[in-house]
Every structure is written in structure tokens, then in C-alpha cells.
Symmetry: C2
Subunit: 357 residues, 2 copies
């Protein structure tokens, strides 16, 4: 139904660097297959030979060390499910148009990830007192086009507060039971559960413990939003926790719906590390709302599937559908966009316009 160029069933949002979106109408089950999982790259995909590859653990640690791929695979592993969402997902819904990859609904996916807890690696190195952050650095590199930018090539890097790094972060070598595909960070990527996927650095190269706040390009310029503090002064923050959101997989935008029938509206909803407790659906542009049925799988840091049987109108014409999620700590989605979020964290209620015929 989409007119966009596609590659193996994914929508090509950008060729170089490669940015591929899952057509969200193809949402199947709780787990997104590897070949359907959206791909977000900032630079060319690094070609990494496992025989040469090393993961360095350095900075403010007692004993810096390196791990090779075999050593990592031999370490005790954990498997967790986690929904990754690009912080710019749904950007295509913004009016007026903003810069950045024009993601529709499908820069999100849920997979099961297997790897070594970051805390295990950090504990082995021995974090020095005074350390406050852990920088995750990828092997992907390139030049930034627009100022303010560092000179020359930089590598993709993000930092985490030490508490999060010592928490549930995984160094994943396996995605849904298979070695990470190259486009998803082979041989090793971070998985930062509950956070926007920008934090889940791919093609991991180095873990750098630091006693100073890291203000890298993707931490301080790109992937940031404005928070209002004292005296209404906006202050810049790096994106972190996923915001609550429900998305409609079917029907999709522009779909033709049969008059006077039953249509299974369905989709997914997520909210960082909180549980989705309610999804409501409106078929009249927000005037009234009905409860959707929630899927049985309610897994921390993963999306929750939902569905709603819609008795479609007996009259012809356009209809606007909406979905709205509520979570276990009482958060729900706003109707209006918060402009301080710039081109990211888009979680206001999204209208899906269909035609009843």
C-alpha cells in the first residue's frame, strides 16, 4: 500500500546511511523477526572481522582490559526481551515538517536479546570512585555536516549514568537466537532497556568509564530535548527513557474500510519500564473512547499488543482513528505535541485517517 521504495519488505527511508522502516501494518506477534526489524544507521555499516575485533574497557577503572568475541560468547549470558524505538519514530506526523529521517510508525521493534550484563564487565574492571558515567562507543564513524560539529570524523558514542550502566544494560551478541546481523550491530551492541534506541550503541568498540559528564555530539547536540527548569529557562537534556505510546498497526493511513462490518483494529503500546495497563481506541477523532483488549504478554521493557473490534459505520465517508495508552504509574498520552521536544520523543496521540466505503 505504500509508495515508498522498499528493501526486503522494509521501507527505505535513506540509502546512505542505511535507514529502513518496518511497515507497521505488518506487525505480527510479540517478537519482531530480525529481517523485519527497523534499521537505524548514522554512518556506513562497519565491516568487522571477529578475529580482529576487541571490546576495550578503559577509563576510570582499576584494571582496563579487552575481550575478544570468543571470550564474550563464553561468558555467562542473560536473555531479555526489549522494545527498541528510534527517538525520531513518527516524525513523519509532525507539521510543519522538520529535518531528520521521516519515520512513519515503524521505527520500533521488539526482540529478545542475549548477551553479557554490562555490570559484569564493569565489575571485573573495577569502577574507580568518582566515576559518574559510562561512555559506549561504536565503531561506526563519519563526519557531521552542520555546525556545531567536531572537526573530522567522529565515532558514534553515548554515555549512560553509572547507575543505569550498573543496572539492566546488556552487551548483546545475539538477537532472537541468531548472531546480531551486521545492520544491527554485529558483533556486539548495547541494549539499554526502556530507553530510546539511540542509547543502545551498535558495533561496540569501547566502554569508557569517566568522572566527567560526557557531552558528545549525539549526547549534547543531536538526540536532545529542552526541559523547563527554574524561571522557565529551557535547559538541554539528552534523550533517555521512552515515552508512553500506542500505535495502530491496522488499519493503516488511507486504508479503505468496509461499511457496516467488523474490523479488527490492532497495534502495540509501550512505556519504558512501566507496564501498559490500558489502551483506548477512538474511531471518531477523539470524541469518544473504547477499551481495547490487551495481549497476554506483559513483559517489562517490551511493548504490549492490543486489539479492538470496531463496528464500522453504516454511512460512507472518512473516519479518524486514534489509540491512547495508559501505564502502571498513571501516565498517558497528550493530545498536543510539546514543541520543546524538537524532532524527537513524539508521543502525542496520532490520528489515522481512513475511508469507509
Amino acid at each position: 500500500m505504500t509508495a515508498e521504495p522498499s528493501l526486503n519488505g522494509l521501507i527505505v527511508r535513506e540509502q546512505e546511511p542505511l535507514n529502513l522502516e518496518m511497515p507497521f501494518s505488518t506487525l505480527g506477534g510479540f517478537t519482531t523477526p530480525n529481517e523485519s526489524f527497523y534499521v537505524r544507521c548514522h554512518f556506513p555499516i562497519p565491516e568487522i572481522a571477529v578475529s580482529d575485533w576487541r571490546l576495550k574497557i578503559e577509563g576510570k577503572v582499576e584494571a582496563p582490559f579487552e575481550l575478544n568475541y570468543e571470550e564474550l560468547l563464553r561468558m555467562e549470558s542473560r536473555t531479555v526481551a526489549a522494545t527498541l524505538e528510534c527517538a525520531g519514530n513518527n516524525r513523519d506526523f509532525l507539521e510543519p515538517k522538520v529535518k531528520g529521517v521521516q519515520w512513519g510508525l515503524g521505527a520500533v521493534g521488539n526482540a529478545s536479546w542475549t548477551g553479557v550484563p554490562l555490570s559484569v564487565v564493569l565489575e571485573r574492571a573495577g569502577v574507580k570512585s568518582g566515576a559518574i558515567e559510562v561512555i559506549l562507543e561504536g565503531a561506526d564513524e563519519g563526519e557531521i555536516a552542520n555546525p556545531p560539529r567536531p572537526a573530522g570524523k567522529i565515532r558514534f558514542a553515548r554515555s549512560l549514568p553509572l547507575a543505569k550502566a550498573m543496572g539492566d544494560v546488556l552487551l548483546a551478541h545475539t538477537m532472537n537466537g541468531e548472531p546480531l546481523p551486521p545492520s544491527h550491530g554485529f558483533p556486539l551492541r548495547a541494549i539499554v532497556p526502556g530507553w530510546y534506541a539511540v542509547a543502545s550503541v551498535k558495533w561496540m568498540r569501547s566502554i569508557i568509564v569517566t568522572n566527567r559528564p560526557f557531552a558528545g555530539y549525539y549526547q549534547s547536540i543531536d538526540y536532545t530535548y529542552w526541559e523547563r527548569t527554574a524561571d522557565d529557562l529551557p535547559t538541554l537534556k539528552p534523550l533517555a527513557e521512552q515515552q508512553i505510546k500506542a500505535e495502530i498497526a491496522q488499519p493503516e493511513k488511507g486504508e479503505t474500510i468496509s461499511v457496516g462490518a467488523t474490523y479488527r483494529v490492532h497495534g502495540a503500546a509501550w512505556s519504558g519500564d512501566a507496564e501498559i495497563t490500558k489502551v483506548e481506541v477512538s474511531t471518531d477523532a477523539g470524541a469518544s473512547w473504547s477499551l481495547a483488549n490487551l495481549g497476554a504478554d506483559s513483559v517489562k521493557n517490551s511493548w504490549r499488543l492490543w486489539e479492538y473490534d470496531w463496528r464500522t459505520p453504516t454511512t460512507l465517508g472518512p473516519q479518524t482513528l486514534m489509540a491512547r495508552a495508559t501505564d502502571s504509574v498513571g501516565r498517558t498520552q497528550p493530545f498536543e505535541r510539546d514543541a520543546d521536544r524538537g524532532t524527537y520523543m513524539i508521543n502525542h496521540i496520532l490520528p489515522i485517517l481512513v475511508e469507509v466505503r
Copy 2:
């Protein structure tokens, strides 16, 4: 000699907002007269009636309070000389051209400032433990054009580390013995000695003590540079201390010099809070250097004048002059531009091309 539009003898770099440069060839003495002092605005100059105006001291303090203009004038004052330099001074020398006001040599001036130490005001309010920064907020406001930007109008604001705020920072109401002119921040501006002038917030409105790092637009996006830290990763820093620099006032770029004569090359040099101990002049594009004579006035945080009697060549043709400063802690100017400084902190050796006829 300049072709630029001028206003009361200053070069108009921008009309709205008003940005005026002193033709640096007009450098006279140690003190720059108010009417010759460069003007840097980010937004329209606020029209402030002193009867309505208040300075607020708020945030993480024991006893927030306000001061009016009369109260400020009655407080014990201090007078200090300080050189203010725009962090983008000399931007016109950069190749390739970069965005921003195209300052030549004259976005710098030295004045005597009278006012109340910021520390006195902070001590009266009582800074709470845990405070780390002091935000200085101006009354000037407007919208930022390009992302990443906060939504709507913002006011100009910068923060200082608490130690600097409790040090030599002045809340100045008087410039060279006269009330601050409107374009220089009437009724009150900060003077942050030794720092780029962006820190010396004009049209002061509020002093906000905070226990969180302030990442305002002019702190985190604009007026920043990249510093290389662990693993060569660039990390963003707000501009702070002035870098060492010597500038040639005369001759100016493109000037015609008499053959086989004596020409008084002169200028000024400064280096944050360090003393200028040496200025060298080259009249052969850096191949050889001669010592300049330093002016008698060596005042902390102020520029130092210098001069050099040049025996001009006996042959006709182009000549490239340069000046290079050295300070009391051994710093000197580099030949090459550091690209990580973006469009700011331009202190490499600047060539002045003249013609001997």
C-alpha cells in the same frame, strides 16, 4: 578605509539585532570610550524603565530577594578594568567562511566598570549547600531560528560555576564613569573578568542559583567548542576563559605603506587573567620576529598596548605583518586554527597584508 556601513564611527555588522564593531585601526589608549565600544546583541535592546526594574536573586538560596536600581547604586561599589572580547571576534579571517556575525578585529574593548560584586549579593541571599552554578539571566528575548532550539521566545542566559560567581564577577551599573548605555546593558550587566564577553550578561534580570548543571541554548548549543577527552572523543564545552591574542591596529589590512620609512606598528594583546609579557612582530609573514615595546599599563584582565617601529622595505610590493603574544604562564598563539573551536575562540596568528609603495 572600510567600505562597510557605519553608525557613529562603528562598523554595522548587523542592524537587527544591533551588532557594531570598532574599526580596530582607531584604537587609541588603554580605555575604549563608551561610544567606540563594540556592541553585541542577540535580540532587540530591551527598553527598561528603572522605576519598574528589579534584580531578582532566587533559586537555591536561603532568602530570595529583589533589588531596585536605587538600592544597587547605594551599595558599596568596586571599580575594575576589564577587556571584553566577543568569542567570535576575528571570524572574518576564517577560511572557508562560517556562519555568524563576520567580525573583523574590533569586537573587543577595554573599559573601567563600577558596580557591586556578585559575591556580596549571593552572600546576602545565602547560597544553599549543593548549589553548583549561578545562572545570569538577561531581559533580552526572542526566538531562535534553527534547531535544536527551545520552543517560543527565550531570554538570554548563561551560567557560571559557583567558584567563579563567588570570585571576581561584578554587577556593573557604570561604564567608564557613566551609567551603562542601553546598548551595553542598562541598567545592570555582569562583568566576568577574563572570560569571553558572552558570560557578561547584559540587561540583568535575575540571578538563579542552581544545584543542577544549566544547559541553556547559549551554554550548550551556541557559544560552545569541542574538547578532546578519553579515546579522542570530542565533548562539548561552554566557552569560558579568553584565549591569548595580539591584534594589530595599524597598519590595517590593505593599507599603503611608504617605502623606506619608519612606520609605527601598534596594537593590543590580552590573555584572560594572565599578564602579557611579550609581543613579537613579524613583517615577513612569520619568517622572523622582533620584540615590540609593551605599554606601561599592565592591568589584570585588561589588554596591554604595544608598539613597534618598523623600518619599511626599500623595495615595492606586498608585505604580510603578524603579531604574536606570550603571557606570564608561558602560553603563546598557534599558527594554525583548531577546527574543534568551530566559529569561536579564534586566536591563531592573523596575517595583515599591506602594500609598500
